[in-house]
């Protein structure tokens, strides 16, 4: 089966891994991990600068030198107003109309405030943004986001940074089935390449992750492992996997088996 290209907002991406840039042990490790991952898109943020060390400037220079596309986020925003203002600020600084829209509704689980999310998405799409909403697997919310003009959805696998994988496989399958042509990116909660591969086998289009690579003992090797896991999962999905069975089925032919004329049991 021939695979279809991964396309978001008229941009075709070869890599189905989008990588976060936070929490790495050093800028050098971040750069090496991005290269090892093959990611063409990395997420970035806007923050207050602590002190006069110009860390923001050196970070931005590093990202530009990597030659990757950036997806700014509104991480940590807890209201529509905060998220919209942050998106507008990000558009100017990063010179992109892409925005990973987060409106957080719960401090412990960092669960999206889906009501605020839809409202912010409507405002930002009207203002010309290409919105990548961080959402849940809720079908009605997905419908509202698409109605607002979002051409991609990013449901969580599990809470941000938890590494729990896919908490609600049934719900994610339902989302995929209900929106077969919308690019769906699992964003958050992935812990291992096996989780990422499992999501890809469900037919998800791509994976966005950060902590699982950045906090691994060897982030560069883990970045490569995720790239391979995601590619394997996508290939498996496009190759149409077999369905599970309750009973065994011999893989070796039964015809011509020696002693097949003897009684089955003494």
């Amino acid at each position: 089966m021939r695979d279809v290209p991964f396309k978001v907002y008229d941009t075709v991406l070869r890599s189905r891994l989008l990588l976060g840039t936070a929490q790495y042990p050093s800028p050098a490790v971040l750069a090496a991990a991005v290269k090892a991952s093959g990611a063409e898109v990395v997420t970035v943020s806007l923050r207050r600068e602590a002190g006069a060390n110009r860390a923001g400037e050196s970070f931005w220079t590093l990202i530009r030198e990597l030659g990757v596309r950036v997806l700014p986020n509104t991480a940590g925003c807890r209201s529509v107003k905060e998220a919209v203002t942050t998106a507008e600020m990000a558009r100017e600084v990063f010179a992109t109309d892409w925005i990973k829209l987060e409106v957080i509704g719960d401090d412990d689980l960092l669960q999206p405030d889906v009501f605020g999310l839809v409202e912010a998405a409507e405002i930002l799409v009207r203002a010309g943004f290409k919105v990548f909403p961080y959402t849940t697997e809720d079908l009605r919310v997905a419908e509202r986001l698409i109605g607002a003009g979002c051409e991609v959805l990013m449901p969580w696998g599990a809470p941000i940074g938890s590494g729990r994988g896919l908490n609600n496989v049934f719900g994610l399958q339902a989302l995929r089935k209900n929106f077969p042509t919308t690019p769906l990116i699992i964003d958050a909660g992935i812990g291992t390449p096996a989780h990422a591969a499992a999501a890809m086998e469900l037919g998800y289009d791509a994976i966005l992750l950060n902590t699982a690579v950045a906090k691994a003992g060897d982030p560069v090797t883990m970045a490569r492992a995720f790239a391979l896991g995601i590619e394997a999962g996508r290939l498996a999905y496009s190759a149409d996997p077999i369905l599970p069975r309750d009973m065994a089925e011999p893989s070796t032919p039964q015809i011509g088996r020696a002693f097949s004329d003897l009684p089955k049991r003494a």
């Binding site: 976060g20 840039t21 936070a22 929490q23 790495y24 971040l30 997420t43 970035v44 943020s45 806007l46 923050r47 207050r48 600068e49 006069a52 110009r54 860390a55 923001g56 400037e57 970070f59 931005w60 990202i63 700014p72 986020n73 991480a75 107003k81 905060e82 203002t85 507008e88 600020m89 990000a90 100017e92 600084v93 990063f94 941000i160 940074g161 950060n210 902590t211």
Partner: protein, 65 residues
């Protein structure tokens, strides 16, 4: 006058957002600005007056997930 910059109180001489950035040594840096939670484009900073009690955000590119 006293204003808030990135959540901290500052006594400043600047009366516009552009002057504030120069006063705080941000004038040659890539930053995004907001006053009282409203985005202010770089092109509008010169014409954006500040008044006592204003809350100014000056943000820079940083790592993100």
């Amino acid at each position: 006058m006293q204003i808030h910059v990135n959540g901290k109180a500052h006594d400043v001489a600047a009366t516009t957002l552009a002057a504030l950035l120069a006063e705080l040594d941000y004038h040659d840096k890539l930053v995004a600005t907001a006053v009282n939670q409203t985005f202010v484009r770089a092109a509008d900073r010169l014409a954006t007056p500040l008044k006592p009690g204003d809350a100014v955000e000056i943000l820079v590119p940083r790592q993100g997930g």
